[in-house]
Symmetry: C2
Subunit: 352 residues, 2 copies
DNA sequence: CTGAAAGCGCTTACAG
DNA sequence: CTGAAAGCGCTTACAG
């Protein structure tokens, strides 16, 4: 039986260099007060032993975890993954590890929220596309754990979010300008328990939709409104309802590209040509959107992740009890939204 | 200035329960040797203090990290993300945290490989769609760090992989059965430095392609072979070359859905109808594939992630120096591949 | 500038 | 069954 090879520790280095572990620790941590000779001896010893300090031990004595969490509905929101990419690109250049927590239900969301609040779990978290309620937000605040929201907002928490009302407005106005008069709106469930998971983007996009309508003097027809889970399959059903109703819309604005793909499925089912018989606008500009030629609202997914990560890193550098006494609360940031016109929108063939 | 609230420790619990910290630790760790009264006192104290042991301290004294790594080219391989989903679903039910390392270049791959080898970084790693060379494999073995490969193989390492030769064969035979005679093959770069990142799946799929061809008595035409990076845009260029050549193929088998989407783009550019003028088969059955109706080879992406995770968990439970003296090397596992026929393949309109 | 020592919060032989 | 103590591998006041 081979003895398990014990990894080399700071003591080994100290012994070889003929100094105390304190000195080794100092050069390790870039402490400038270590004299030339000692420093060189240590550096040489580190090199010959190929020494790397034990992270866990550092964590314990420093009281930091050197890990950051990303918590998001990664697998049922295509957009989360693209935002994660942004996060990763900035964290990978930092000293922090990134651990991911995938949320599928309210229960997992709540479990992760409270787990992460424990003081020794992570040094910071970015929450993606999940809106903390007031209790959560307060708990985050009290814990002192740096948190930034991406694609969600809360008055007490820093965030990176798009101007969803503007997005909703741009999408709807585009359709109006093309000549559409009956424009349906499909979004996530506004009041179902699961909606807690979503951000409040839906409501804002709806607001934008209404504003565009009212600016154009168009009525708001409740028959043209549908809500349902973030699922292509279910959106397809909703669209089918809309399109087979007595007075169907000539255009549908969907609150996500996923919903929009369901709408396109429904159109195909019913042999409707897009955009001839039906125009559709999505939201997010997920990677696939370009491929399938979907007109949509772009909100710089990857960039929002990047900015969220940068904000968090900023928070980590500014201790709450800063010397000035004022903890610099980093403002929330807004991400630009733009309309991307592709092939799924056009003038209606038969005027309503 | 508020004092930072120190979190409650095992000492607080011990004090409140009127026992030693050793006893608290024992009940925490499910040690059965703790008597009724003591145990109850401790449990009550834990509850009233809402105590949760400090992970970092546990790690240090146990010499485990309780974290597992997933290392993969997440962002340039759509399939990685789906495999990650499988991983996540099993790890989230375990005691381990999952940290992700995204690889974009050979340099980052090598850096992560050697970082993770450090004894105190993680307890295990699953490597997705990256083929370790012999030096890496040996280093992994020597380190004693449990590693499992997903979508890659190495004789010295356990893995979960599909039978790529079979996949290549099935795809090609399908096209032959439809009546195609000139079938092109597009794959990742076989010899470029970056190909080290890819798995050897390409070569096997090529072998399957050749076998199907030779079985049918069809010649292997080098003019119908193209290789290029895992990129839709670049695959589009390769397909264009093929399709504008003097004697173009009537079908293209692409080694990934990403490549296949590039082929579809090229067909669109050239006003070729699919499948009338050109049939195309992809590989992977990524989520989008269903949406765009791509005929492809399914290889249970999520399941392969799940199995990889399960294998790793198994390795963690069987210590290398097992009492029996024989370390049970878990075999590698093969994932089923199936042909999924959708809308991009059909009989060629004009017989070659 | 540098060392001896205490401490971070756990776990676990070792005694009793 | 339970406690006192040592130990995991670092960091950092505190002396000198």
């Amino acid at each position: 039986m081979q003895p398990i090879t014990r990894s080399t520790t700071i003591r080994d280095v100290a012994r070889l260099a003929g100094v105390s572990v304190a000195t080794v620790s100092r050069v390790l941590n870039g402490n400038h007060g270590v004299r030339g000779p000692a420093r060189q001896a240590v550096e040489r010893a580190i090199k010959t032993l190929n020494f790397e300090p034990n992270q866990t031990a550092r964590r314990l004595s420093l009281g930091k975890t050197f890990t950051l969490a990303a918590i998001a509905p990664f697998f049922y929101r295509a957009s989360s993954v693209e935002r994660l990419r942004g996060l990763e690109s900035v964290f990978s250049t930092s000293a922090y590890d990134l651990v991911v927590y995938n949320v599928e239900t309210i229960e997992t969301r709540d479990r992760y929220f409270s787990e992460l609040l424990r003081p020794d779990r992570v040094d910071g978290v970015v929450v993606i596309s999940l809106s903390p309620d007031d209790a959560h937000a307060e708990a985050f605040e009290r814990s002192g754990l740096p948190v930034v929201l991406v694609d969600a907002v809360h008055p007490r928490l820093p965030s990176v979010h798009e101007d969803s009302a503007l997005g909703g407005y741009l999408a709807t106005r585009h359709l109006i300008e093309l000549g559409h008069r009956r424009i349906a709106f499909i979004c996530d469930e506004l009041n179902a328990p699961l909606s807690i998971i979503g951000s409040n983007a839906n409501i804002n996009r709806l607001a934008g939709y209404r504003r565009a309508l009212s600016e154009a003097g168009l009525p708001l027809d409740p028959a043209l409104f549908r809500e349902g889970p973030h699922s292509k399959r279910l959106a397809r059903g909703l669209a089918r309802e809309l399109l087979t109703s007595p007075n169907p819309p000539t255009a549908i604005f969907a609150v996500s590209d996923t919903h929009a793909m369901g709408v396109l499925d429904a159109a195909r089912d019913l042999n409707l040509r897009v955009p001839g018989d039906l125009s559709v606008v999505g939201y997010d500009d997920v990677e696939v959107a370009e491929y399938i030629g979907l007109t949509t609202i772009n909100q710089s997914l990857e960039k929002s992740g990047r900015r969220g990560a940068e904000l968090l890193l900023g928070l980590l550098d500014t201790p709450v009890d800063a010397p000035t006494g004022e903890s610099v609360q980093p403002g929330s940031e807004s991400i630009e939204v733009t309309l991307v016109v592709r092939g799924t929108t056009g003038a209606p063939l038969q005027r309503g």
